[in-house]
Structures are given as structure tokens and as C-alpha cells.
């Protein structure tokens, strides 16, 4: 894994629990205790109602493809992976996350807006696990 050659995130204090959760293969998202909405990405307050009464919750890792592109042009470590799917997934709980859809033919015949997907934990380094998604299996 030492030779992972794509951009890596650098967690901040507010996002550390999200990244630690992925490492444990848990999708950790914050939920507002006042308006009950989940939100993403992590921060110390709810971006919907601005309450600071928020808590971390473990969510299902299931969702649907909100929108996507299929990238055919890339550099660095991504160059050898083209074409690949970059998508925004809407989680069951509401928030949206940018991600890759993997384990699917990267063409618009197979990737569909609104298709159900589930999380895949991709441990790209010892420190960082990325949340990717694949078509729901079974």
C-alpha cells in the first residue's frame, strides 16, 4: 500500500471520526438532535438549522446514485484506471457523498441514475479507508 499513488485526504479534528469509522468499516455521519436531519461532510454544527446539538451515528451505507460521470482522461495513479465512474450517492439517511462506483462496467448502459448502491470499504493505505460504492448485491 506504500505505493498508493492517488490523492489522499488529510483529516481535521472535525472529520477525524468519519475517517476513523471507515477504518473500522463503519460509515459514521453526524445527525442533528434538533431537526433530526443527518448531514455530510462533518462539522461542529448542523448546516440545516445551525444547531450545535449534533451527534455521530452509524448509518447503513446504502443509497442510490444521484448523478455521475465516467471519466476518460486522468493523470497520475488514475491514468491507468480510465474509464472510471465518479458519482454522487444519496445515502438512505439523506446526505450526499462524492465517491466512485466500482465493480460495474464503466459505461452509461450499466451505470444508471437512481440505481441502488451499497458501500465498499477500500483500505487504500494503513491510515486511510475510502468509502466507495457498488451495485447492491443479492
Amino acid at each position: 500500500m506504500a505505493d498508493y499513488n492517488k490523492p489522499l485526504p488529510m483529516p481535521t479534528p472535525e472529520t477525524q471520526e468519519f475517517w476513523d469509522g471507515l477504518k473500522r468499516e463503519e460509515l459514521r455521519i453526524q445527525q442533528c438532535q434538533d431537526c433530526n436531519q443527518h448531514y455530510f461532510y462533518p462539522r461542529s454544527f448542523c448546516p440545516h438549522c445551525h444547531s450545535t446539538n449534533v451527534e455521530w451515528t452509524t448509518v447503513s451505507g446504502k443509497g442510490t446514485v444521484e448523478t455521475f460521470v465516467i471519466n476518460h482522461r486522468a493523470m497520475g495513479g488514475w491514468a491507468e484506471e480510465v474509464p472510471y465512474v465518479v458519482a454522487v450517492v444519496s445515502l438512505e439517511e439523506g446526505p450526499r457523498m462524492l465517491t466512485n462506483i466500482i465493480n460495474i462496467e464503466p459505461d452509461p448502459e450499466h451505470v444508471q441514475v437512481d440505481m441502488p448502491v451499497e458501500i465498499v470499504y477500500d483500505a487504500v493505505t494503513d491510515e486511510i479507508t475510502l468509502a466507495k460504492f457498488q451495485p447492491v448485491t443479492g
Binding site: T12, S44, F68, L98
Partner: protein
């Protein structure tokens, strides 16, 4: 001539607060320092964050902060001139509030100057929200980020790749008439679809050019406007809005809702309706951008832009002349093309557009995104 004394004692500071902690804050990122200050100042004023409709900051971008704070102001100022920027913001806010561009302006500062938390780090901003939540997934500049919303538009409204390609074709027809345009050979919808795939659904001919160039504008008050060699082109209306910086945080992928807010601001100020618009410049970073603009500004209903462009109504001879210089797709695109969109609107209003001049242009509209649909800005210009 307008006199700044007219703005004296017109605007007051009603909320002010610092972060609770100061000094060494290794557990708080730069954005959180902005946010904590913002929440405390708004509370100090007895207001809700949803009351904020004007926003200024320096260092960080206003688009980044509006996303973080979950607000969509209709006036923003990112003037970034160093440590004194916030004094300048106060002065700009006085003008904005007096003009009616905003009612309640929030100005924030946050800096992890000592602990350097969330201020980027190695690898080009890998600690920012974009660096953490978009960067690891293989995005490569505008072709793979600006394009992300469009599949939702295609799904919701049945918009086709052929309709999107028609934008490029119509725009090229204008470029054929412009000797300064970089790309002037005629193209067809099939040519667009046959050009190299860059990032589905966008082929090479769906993407703007990459060029060098520049432009500039000079503005004066009404009292002096007739003292110059060329006839004045009047700013009739303006609008602006922002609510995200990372495209994955766009609130509605099928509709540019803060583009609509910007447009409403401009039409309100100009006090004209859509039938007054004779000419349009809709920033075309990609061929879907003018489609989103057409719908956001209310020239057509949601989802109707695909058929509209497929009918070539924006091409020479059509009833909605748009991007008559050849646009970012065929004329030029330096990176921040909005200046060229204004230049062509002015040229058309002056009657200086040569072979591509549209007859009888009295009122034009210019509308542009900034970043990946993150800013929306609108101008309505006139020559009467």
C-alpha cells in the same frame, strides 16, 4: 454626482463576536473558526443564520464558507487584500445594504495561523473539504467536476446528448462570423458526438477552449456618462448568489437554484421582464452550462432547455441570439471567461459586432457561473 456622504450613518454593526478560545487551538480547523465566529456573532445580534443574505470574507473563499455555513446569500464579497480586508468589507457592505443588494451582512474571519489545522497541508489542500471528500475519487479539473450534475438533468427531464451537443453547434455558427474566434469550422451534432470522449457525457466539442487573453471595463456615474467617445452602456440590473464550492454539495443537480436567485435579483433591479431581453451571453464552460442558465433565469420552464437548443433558437437567425462571439466553446476561454461574456454584450449594445451584429439590441443579459456552478452572477445591460 453621487456623494459618499449620502451613505454616512446609514448602516450599523449590530452583532459582533470572536471565537470563544484564542491563542492555540489545535482541535479547530480554519473553517470551524470562521463558523464559530459566525454563529456567535449572529447570536449576539439575536438573529438566525437564515437571516443572512449578504456575506463577506477574506482568505477563504465566500463560496467555501457559504457551503460550510449552509447559507445562500444574494450578495458576496471576497475582496482579499490582506489583514485589513475586513475594514474594506464593512465599507463595501455599507454600499451593498444601502443599495438593497443585501439586508443583513455577515463578515467572518478565521485563521489557524499557529496550529495550521485544515488550511491545506501537503498535496494541494488535502485537508480542505474538497481535498478530503472529493479529491480522493479521481476528479481532474472542470471536465470531470462541472459535468457531474448533468446526468441528473438527463434522467429527470429526458435531456439527450444530441440536445446538449446542439449548444456547441449553434455557438460554432456564431464563431464562423467572428474573425477573432479560435474555432471557426462548421460542426454538426454528429461531429460533437464523434469527438473524443473526455468525461461522459461530454466529448471534446462539449468543452470550452483553453486560451490566453484578457479584458477590462471602466465605469463612471451617470453625470459623466455622456462625456466619453462611445455611447454609454448602462448597468440596469445585477445579481449574484453562492451556496457551495464543491460540486457534490450543489443542492439541486437538475436546477441551478442560486442561479435563479441571481437572476431574480437582476430582473428586479432592472425592473424589466424577459420579453425586454434582446441578446444573451450565457457563460459556456461546457455545453450544458447555458442550458442550466436558460432554465434558472426563467426563459423556459425546468427541463425545457434541451428541446429549445435542439431547435437552434440561439443560432444565427434564431429568435434567442446567444453567445454571439462564439462563446467559450469556440471564441476564447482563458479560464475566467466571464469578462469576455460582458465584452460581447457591450459590443452588441454598441452595435460594434460586425457580421454577427444582432439587429435592434437595446437590452442584453449576461449570466455566468464561477467555479463548478458555485457562484452565479447576472448583469442586465442596456444602451437606452
Amino acid at each position: 454626482m453621487p456623494d459618499s456622504r449620502a451613505l454616512s450613518h446609514k448602516v450599523a454593526i449590530v452583532g459582533a463576536a470572536e471565537t470563544e478560545g484564542l491563542g492555540k487551538l489545535p482541535d479547530t480547523s480554519m473553517l470551524e473558526l470562521h463558523a464559530e465566529s459566525a454563529l456567535r456573532a449572529v447570536a449576539d445580534a439575536g438573529l438566525q443564520m437564515s437571516d443572512i443574505d449578504g456575506f463577506a470574507t477574506a482568505g477563504a473563499s465566500p463560496a467555501q464558507l457559504t457551503e460550510y455555513l449552509g447559507i445562500a446569500p444574494r450578495w458576496v464579497d471576497g475582496t482579499s487584500l490582506g489583514g485589513g480586508s475586513f475594514l474594506a468589507h464593512v465599507g463595501h457592505a455599507v454600499a451593498a445594504i444601502t443599495a438593497g443588494y443585501a439586508d443583513t451582512v455577515l463578515i467572518t474571519h478565521g485563521e489557524s495561523g499557529r496550529s495550521r489545522v485544515g488550511v491545506g497541508g501537503g498535496g494541494g489542500g488535502s485537508a480542505t473539504p474538497g481535498g478530503q471528500f472529493e479529491g480522493p475519487f479521481g476528479l481532474f479539473g472542470p471536465p470531470s467536476t462541472f459535468s457531474i450534475p448533468v446526468a441528473r438533468h438527463m434522467k429527470d427531464f429526458g435531456t439527450t446528448e444530441e440536445q446538449i451537443a446542439a449548444v456547441s453547434v449553434a455557438t460554432r455558427q456564431w464563431a464562423e462570423k467572428n474573425p477573432r474566434a479560435m474555432m471557426r469550422d462548421p460542426i454538426t451534432v454528429q461531429d460533437v458526438l464523434d469527438s473524443r470522449m473526455v468525461c461522459w457525457p461530454f466529448h471534446l466539442l462539449n468543452c470550452c477552449l483553453v486560451t490566453d487573453g484578457g479584458g477590462a471595463l471602466v465605469l463612471v456615474s451617470e453625470e459623466r456618462a455622456d462625456d466619453f467617445p462611445k455611447k454609454p452602456i448602462w448597468v440596469l440590473g445585477r445579481g449574484e448568489a453562492t451556496q457551495h464550492t464543491n460540486v457534490s454539495m450543489m443542492r439541486d443537480f437538475a436546477f441551478w437554484d442560486h442561479g435563479a436567485l441571481s437572476g431574480r435579483e437582476a430582473f428586479h433591479m432592472a425592473d424589466v421582464d424577459h420579453s425586454a431581453i434582446d441578446h444573451a451571453m450565457f457563460y459556456d464552460a461546457f455545453s450544458h452550462t447555458p442550458m442550466y442558465a436558460l432554465e434558472a433565469l426563467g426563459f423556459v420552464e425546468k427541463g425545457e432547455s434541451g428541446p429549445f437548443f435542439a431547435e437552434m433558437r440561439t443560432a444565427p437567425g434564431g429568435d434567442f441570439p446567444m453567445n454571439t462571439n462564439g462563446g467559450g466553446l469556440s471564441y476564447t476561454h482563458t479560464g475566467m471567461y466571464g469578462m469576455f461574456a460582458i465584452q460581447e454584450s457591450v459590443a452588441q449594445l454598441r452595435g460594434e459586432s460586425g457580421d454577427r451584429q444582432v439587429d435592434g439590441v437595446e437590452t442584453g443579459i449576461v449570466h455566468a457561473p464561477g467555479g463548478m456552478f458555485s457562484l452565479a452572477a447576472t448583469l442586465i445591460l442596456g444602451n437606452q
